[in-house]
Symmetry: C3
Subunit: 226 residues, 3 copies
């Protein structure tokens, strides 16, 4: 379960979007986004500390189905699952039963460097799911969990236990644990600066003028001291 401090971070993140948070991370030189991993449900937002699950292919396939998702019993409420199947989209690491169990446990969402199935059910339950692919062939007797709650590498991004994941219709960001407070503070300023610019252009200003007067070049540090 999330601590009070974590619950407050989460509430603040869910008021933002990945665009503002990515800009804040840019201003700190720490941008880490998961390229190629797309939302499978429209209009959902997801935030929480990461719980990682590492998969590897079987050396020799087993003769009966393996319960490759049983780790889920140990995932704390409020966490976001990050499943690394090394970008293999030809077998799935998520489906019907795991979605239902995740919702019952209060898991905040699932991000897969690989594929998921039972997409129609996931959509009807509005469970936040982000994946590289969609398929129906099970990973059960093709890959197995080799570690949980460990550092994993997705593309060229290293994700550590303690980091947070934040996702919306644009995709998924990885927030480094020690920079979350500063990222949030800056992202809230970015959003406020952008709202000022929208108001200015809706009042008839040129975009160029609005951006200059309202501090677009450093939106995390607006000129009016807001």
């Amino acid at each position: 379960m999330l601590t009070n401090e974590q619950a407050e971070l989460k509430a603040r993140l869910l008021e933002l979007d990945t665009a503002a948070v990515s800009d804040a991370m840019d201003s700190l030189g720490c941008n880490r986004a998961l390229a190629g991993i797309a939302p499978r449900v429209d209009g959902v937002k997801m935030a929480g500390p990461v719980y990682t699950v590492q998969y590897e292919p079987f050396d020799s396939p087993p003769t009966s189905f393996q319960g490759a998702g049983n780790y889920i019993d140990d995932v704390p409420a409020g966490y976001v699952l990050l499943i690394n199947n090394h970008g293999n989209t030809l077998c799935t690491n998520w489906g019907d039963i795991l979605t239902r169990k995740a919702l019952m446990q209060g898991i905040a969402g699932t991000v897969i460097n690989g594929s998921a199935r039972d997409i129609a059910l996931v959509r009807s339950l509005e469970y936040p799911l982000f994946t590289k692919g969609v398929y129906m062939v099970s990973g059960k007797n093709r890959v197995r969990v080799t570690a949980v709650d460990v550092p994993v590498i997705i593309g060229d991004v290293q994700v550590e236990p303690g980091d947070w994941l934040f996702g919306d219709d644009n995709g998924v960001l990885v927030l480094p644990a020690h920079q979350i407070a500063e990222i949030l503070a800056r992202a809230e300023q970015v959003l406020a600066t952008e709202a000022d610019i929208v108001r200015a252009i809706e009042g008839g200003s040129k975009l160029d003028t609005a951006r200059k007067s309202l501090g677009y070049a450093t939106p995390w540090n607006p000129p009016n001291g807001r």
Copy 2:
């Protein structure tokens, strides 16, 4: 038109989903899924014996439009069209007129190793369409039908006349003709086992425990003799 036996197989398949059927095929060592071919209409399910159409590029482009889809007059009601354009997404093999004609003839759906156009109309008519791509450039004077109702190869999957295609939001499976009865029987058991597991976890069971007691390792052969 489908025989009574085929109509019954179809009705049973439409009660299932590709996840359960894929697991049943795994248990028989005969999984054949069409990687990279995605549903273009959400929430549709499609099942039926295959009618294959093989396209090849023209050696030299014709000077007038060719009626590259006229094979459709010969497709029996209840069949699923499988069009092989060798994964070429830069010209289309399906559109407005073929969709309307297919619906009038009672064709069950269309799967294309290539692209389709007039997607908005296909969606409004809820016609089951699965393709690799979406584009608008016609195949009319770029490719031509060289054979129908013959074996075709899609990626690394060989499809024979007599095989069945089964598709839903997860993608498309190819069911070998001689194994359909056994696949269906096993898939129905898989679905029942999964429903048992969902009931158990909704009653508070851990996933690990539910799977062990309810026969997840061999879901097509549940321990309670259901």
Copy 3:
């Protein structure tokens, strides 16, 4: 702002679809479609003369955010923006503020050889947006505008100022300036011929017969002199 003549061309185009226009272009041997660029909003249609924007990567990244979208103040109402970021999907050239400003200026839509962000907002405003990718990382301090209203190359298609862009659920076509009148006239005939064929098959005709009698081979020049 569009001239009266342009406004009339636009109204006629919006009665058509990219399939019919693509066929008309085929009949003239001038097909130019933007492969790999997909609609990000379902059910929208877009037409207008092109306004091109060329981006290039920074040699050395700037230390503050650059107003990379300020060109928008100069885009005339009724034009379609074509942004060339060389197919780079790992940073975005479009988002929230530009969408709002484009709508206020009466810009007809945006096509990006690259990525956009703030997709949820774009959808809620039903702004016609066509892109190669979706992401959240800003292009602000990664790429910069080097030229506007110049010829650009998208894939293997050269687009010139004066050309028109036309997009719908199937994708985006580039209409060469000097052929627009002839393309439109032929596309209207194509659509009428296809409507005749649909009526014939709905009346019970075989597709083969309907196509032969109704001039499918040269739909821009129907036999009945319509």
